[in-house]
Amino acid sequence: MNTIITAMHYCVPKGRMTNADLAERFGERQLKAITKMAGIEERRIVAPGETASDLAYWAARRLLDDRRIDPQRIDLLIFASQTGDHQIPATACSLHGRLGLADTCAAFDINLGCSSYPYSLAVAHGMITAGVAHRALVLNADALSPVIHPLDRGLVPLHGDGAVATLLEASASGGGFRGFRLGTDGSGAQHIMIPASGARIPRSEATRREITDESGIVRTQEHLYMNGPAVFHFSVYKIPEVIRQALDQFQLTVDDLDLVLLHQANKTMVDMIYRVLEVPESKRFYYMESVGNLASASTPLVLAEAWRQGRLHPGQRILLASFGNGLSWGVAVIEWPEEAGPPVQGPVEPGEAE
């Protein structure tokens, strides 16, 4: 028995932040280098009070409505995010209630960011093939804009907010997951973090104090910090290496793949990884220019868009690679199934599904 993806939908918030908006805030000169590197023109940004779980709710509602799936038939709900609603309880539990799922449905969070999609797929696949669940709703969502300091000219231009819902079901026929390769280098955990966001550094007056670093980036300890050069360097060396290991593990080469989908961190980084792996143009796909880097929702969104744009066909072999804070990474190889439903429709915005 294998597990297949049978439906996907995604939600982006109504708010938009364009490069022109950023130029007003930071000045053209300050933005030139980062916008050129990022390849992002516009980001979708949550409204005050709107959360990642709100976006996930609308993506899930749209998926369930479009496929006419009775919410009572979902028996596993995974919410993968680092911007949950509360420290306690798991946001998956709140979403379980909002979506009207059955009390026989397991619900829990996976606390990972940009790398979360292969992890959440692997967990759902493992539980389905073990017979613990039959139909899983995986929600990958992040709303980083509220945790990025508005004057952080390194991070504001990169990130948008969004959520993707993926439905996974057991299948006895061909297709599905060929395998996963997951990994971590915890020695680099300090390179992407919100220092005062948990028990280690309790929030206080001191953690709210603004700091301007040597390159002019402003933040507090309660905002997201990223050592951009360290993370870029890690990504362009480690991720090609991990993808090669995964291909060896599954006895595949790039020639055997139809599509290679990478976490949409920024255009320069994605292109470098493609070049190192010698992935031909025909097997590349991008989706960040109009939404930004969506963290946990980034890799599923690029898969959903590839599906929506007619790039996925039954029998094709697709490699997904996600990487980010932790430092953490995951690779999944999927053989696109015959039973996958019709392609994803366009994005939903909050409120559209009702």
């Binding site: 590197m37 390194g154 040597e214 951009g228 050069p229 360290a230 993370v231």
Partner: protein, 100 residues
């Protein structure tokens, strides 16, 4: 050509300024164009020029020319007493893939 002059050539290429003169105390922030994106350019171009591959933590600690020189010298000491600073070396694959 010594380490410093080769590094100056890297900086001139990265900042597209053939007259740029670097000094040990030149640091991100003190030079207006040296932001985090420029650090990425500098690191990858330095790796190509010197045939080294820095670690993630080393890259994370780079704030100035002095930091880079210190790293290059430590690599030179680890590899045949400085041969790395005199000869062309195979460049790391990721750095080679970088097109700025």
């Amino acid at each position: 050509m010594n380490t410093f002059y080769r590094l100056q050539s890297v900086f001139r290429n990265v900042f597209n300024d053939p007259t740029l003169r670097i000094s040990s105390d030149l640091a991100a922030g003190a030079y207006e164009d040296w932001d985090s994106v420029a650090t990425v350019h500098i690191v990858l171009a330095t790796e190509v020029e010197f045939g080294v591959r820095f670690t993630t933590d080393e890259v994370g600690g780079i704030r100035s020319v002095a930091d880079i020189v210190r790293l290059l010298e430590s690599y030179a000491q680890r590899r045949d007493g400085g041969a790395i600073l005199a000869a062309a070396r195979p460049t790391p694959a990721a750095a080679q893939a970088y097109e700025g």
